[in-house]
């Protein structure tokens, strides 16, 4: 398996990719996934994270098979 990582909107443009598959070894938290996929160490108010379709914090644990997403504040409606 693997960890699927998605980027949306301005973060997709910033990351230069919309989706990447990561090997799960060494990835304990959402923050680890962010760093491994973009080189970015921390988040900011304008980086939101979702784990398997639920919004979570950067410190949330991840495991093999998870889908992690990074995106800016939502502006729908």
């Amino acid at each position: 398996m693997a960890i699927k990582v998605k980027f949306f909107a301005s973060l997709r443009e910033w990351a230069g990719q919309s989706e990447v598959m990561l090997e799960p070894e060494g990835l304990a938290s959402v923050a680890d996934v962010l760093k491994a996929s973009t080189g970015e160490r921390g988040g900011s108010d304008s980086v939101l994270c979702a784990l398997n379709f639920e919004t979570v914090s950067l410190s949330h644990a991840v495991k093999d098979g998870d889908e992690v997403a990074f995106f800016p504040p939502v502006t729908g409606g």
Binding site: F8, A69, F71, P72, V74, T75, G76
Partner: protein, 145 residues
């Protein structure tokens, strides 16, 4: 309860009529509805078009969770949410929320909850095309209260 993600333009009044036809008449006394439409003007600039990006899968999951929360908090008979994605022209509807209840207090409050929750939690992002050719991401939603 229905959640519909639309990639084509939709008519909110026809969607309401169609959905309400499936409900038992006489059971509901109150229907509260909100329709958000695309304006041709935002933050001082003329807007020519908009593209709505979303997170397929999470969008439906979040909207269904929001509708379920509303149904826990208020006595609702039914809920309907439509949301456009993709390229949108000025004046086109973007979002429709509707609730049916026996009484008006529940209908008003639940419908407002749906919209505020959708605005703050559902993964949609707007990109505006301005009339001078510039494009920009909308950075945040206006507050609802």
């Amino acid at each position: 309860m229905a959640v519909v993600i639309e990639s084509d333009s939709f008519d909110p009044w026809q969607a309401l009529q169609r959905h309400q036809d499936s409900l038992v008449g006489g059971s509901f006394g109150a229907t509260a509805v909100f329709v958000g439409s695309m304006r041709d003007f935002n933050q001082g600039d003329e807007v020519q078009g908009m593209t709505l990006e979303h997170y397929p899968g999470m969008t439906e999951h979040q909207l269904e969770a929001i509708a379920a929360e509303a149904a826990e908090q208020w006595p609702l008979l039914d809920t309907l949410i439509h949301h456009r994605v993709g390229d949108i022209d000025p004046a086109e509807p973007i979002v429709l929320t509707a609730v049916w209840s026996a009484h008006r207090a529940a209908a008003f409050e639940a419908n407002r909850f749906l919209m505020e929750a959708l605005k703050s939690r559902a993964p949609f992002w707007k990109r505006e095309q301005l009339s001078d050719g510039e494009e920009r991401w909308v950075e945040k939603n206006t507050p609802g209260y």
